[in-house]
């Protein structure tokens, strides 16, 4: 009974490491899309009974996180013609090891958090590790698009944490989360294209140099 959501959460962590370890942006986005699909399945598996609220949450997540956002990102890399992250601030092996560290930390923190007893004990550590790895990607990669991916992973982590309260949190709040991301990505998309047009590359380090 409990093994299926556990395996899904496991795959969420694996997609995190997938994003952390690949140079190709399209692979990153595919991993993110997979994560979106997994997150869409989770509310259905964790709910004690299938209410309209849960169904809406699941379909909303699937459409936004699993289809719309990856499609938007794919469109962005096609338009901006970026294929891969050239040189991250921290190398891939080092960031994988950092990810492993984050994993250990997340599990250590999760056991010490004063939370009410949960049906699915893996949910909290996995949400924490997703937030941390999202943060790693967000801070150590140079391409604006990879940073968007990192931001979305961070957001996915928060969504996972929200799932622990899925029964009691009002429907509006969840929709607010999804809307938040959507708006965020659109703003980032605009920023990304401005960086691209201005500097002919998506390297956000260019923004640090002051020019007339």
């Amino acid at each position: 009974m409990h093994t299926v959501p556990q395996l899904v959460l496991l795959f969420v962590v694996l997609t995190n490491f997938g994003v952390l370890g690949t140079t190709r942006l399209s692979t990153c986005i595919r991993a993110l899309a997979l994560q979106g699909w997994l997150l869409g399945l989770l509310p259905l598996m964790l709910a004690s009974h299938l209410s309209v609220h849960v169904m809406l949450l699941a379909t909303g997540t699937l459409i936004v996180k699993g289809i719309a956002l990856p499609w938007f990102l794919h469109w962005a890399i096609r338009e901006a013609r970026v294929r891969r992250e050239i040189e991250p601030l921290i190398g891939y092996v080092a960031s994988l090891l950092l990810g492993a560290l984050a994993l250990g930390l997340a599990f250590a923190i999760a056991t010490r958090l004063p939370l009410p007893h949960l049906e699915e004990s893996l949910l909290v550590p996995v949400s924490l590790v997703t937030v941390m790895i999202g943060l790693i990607v967000l801070t150590t990669r140079r391409k604006a698009l990879t940073q968007v991916v990192g931001y979305l992973m961070l957001e996915n982590g928060i969504f996972l944490f929200g799932l622990t309260q899925a029964e009691s949190v009002p429907f509006l709040l969840e929709v607010g989360v999804l809307l938040d991301v959507f708006v965020g990505v659109f703003i980032m998309g605009i920023v990304v294209f401005h960086i691209n047009r201005e500097f002919d590359s998506l390297d956000s380090a260019n923004l640090a140099e002051l020019q007339d």
Binding site: L7, L10, F17, Y92, V93, L96, A100, L103, F107
Partner: protein
């Protein structure tokens, strides 16, 4: 020592040369070719055994005994595996360290052979082989630690035998991760595609093939058989993790083991058809990834 274990061992030793054949056959079929017969390696070994060996004047006794040390180390490592699903021919507390040590000894002997020829190509291959081992071995140990934590038994026979069956419902997630990690290690340790290409023709890009370039006759036969056996041993490891076979009859147990190793070989062939070889400086990344998976398995068990 029980008869079943010996019998399974004999069957595995007989079947080992067919395993790389299955991988090659899968690869050729997927790319629309007919490919070499599955039993090709048996013919090759039989041919090589009938021939004499040629030794270069720069090589010493190290080069001559090397292949046989490799073969002996692999055979000894096979003795420690619980092939029939319950217990190995040889078992003692902590034999997993001996298992890893024997694999390392085989690699050490092979690398020494390569260095002994004095050829710069083989030296390069040797250095690459060792570089990969540096990343592969910690991953192997992390896998073993996960298995030990899951089963509470510190011998190969225990952690891959009966206690593993009981551990599966408790630790399905960790054990799945270990299985995947072991499969990646199988690809790396046996010089298969994302790490090394067994079919490459350019010495500059070879890893395993270039080390054995100077061997001939029975020596080469020993190396070929040892590498086929290594592939089967790792295949048996993966199969033992995913399909523990306790409480089955000896025949069913052997059949499941052989079918499982066959499936693993097919999977290797599929991976070889689907992926290109990784750039050499990206190989550590793959292996660190495998190690992280195994470490995740440990964290899941502790958490």
């Amino acid at each position: 020592m029980n008869v079943n274990a010996l019998l399974t061992l004999a069957v595995l030793l007989l079947a080992a040369p067919a395993v790389p054949g299955i991988a090659v056959r899968t690869k050729s079929m997927l790319s629309g070719r007919r490919g070499a017969p599955v039993l090709q390696l048996y013919y090759d070994i039989a041919k090589l055994l009938r021939k004499g060996s040629v030794y270069s004047t720069t090589s010493t006794w190290v080069f001559r005994i090397g292949p046989w040390v490799v073969l002996a180390a692999l055979l000894a490592a096979t003795l420690l595996l619980p092939l029939d699903g319950t217990r190995a021919v040889l078992r003692f507390e902590g034999d997993l360290v001996a298992f890893a040590g024997l694999l390392a000894l085989g690699r050490f002997a092979l690398v020494l052979c390569g260095l002994d020829t004095g050829s710069s190509f083989e030296g390069m291959g040797a250095s690459r082989e060792v570089t990969i081992a540096v990343f592969a071995e910690p991953a192997l140990f992390l896998c073993f630690i996960t298995l030990v934590l899951a089963t509470g038994d510190v011998s190969m026979s225990g952690m891959l035998g009966a206690p593993l069956v009981e551990a599966w419902p408790r630790a399905a997630a960790s054990l799945t991760l270990v299985g995947i990690s072991l499969f990646v290690l199988l690809l790396a340790e046996n010089s298969r595609v994302p790490v090394d290409d067994p079919a490459t023709h350019l010495e500059l890009t070879m890893i395993h093939e270039v080390i054995v370039l100077d061997h001939s006759g029975p020596d080469l036969a020993a190396i070929l058989y040892a590498s086929a056996l290594k592939l089967s041993v790792f295949g048996a490891l993966v199969v033992s993790v995913f399909a523990p076979r306790t409480g089955l009859g000896p025949v069913a147990s052997i059949a499941i083991l052989l079918a499982g190793i066959g499936l693993v070989a097919v999977a290797v062939g599929i991976v070889e058809s689907l992926t290109a070889r990784l750039r050499l400086n990206r190989v550590p990344q793959l292996l660190v990834g495998a190690a992280v998976l195994a470490a995740f398995g440990i964290i899941l068990l502790l958490g």
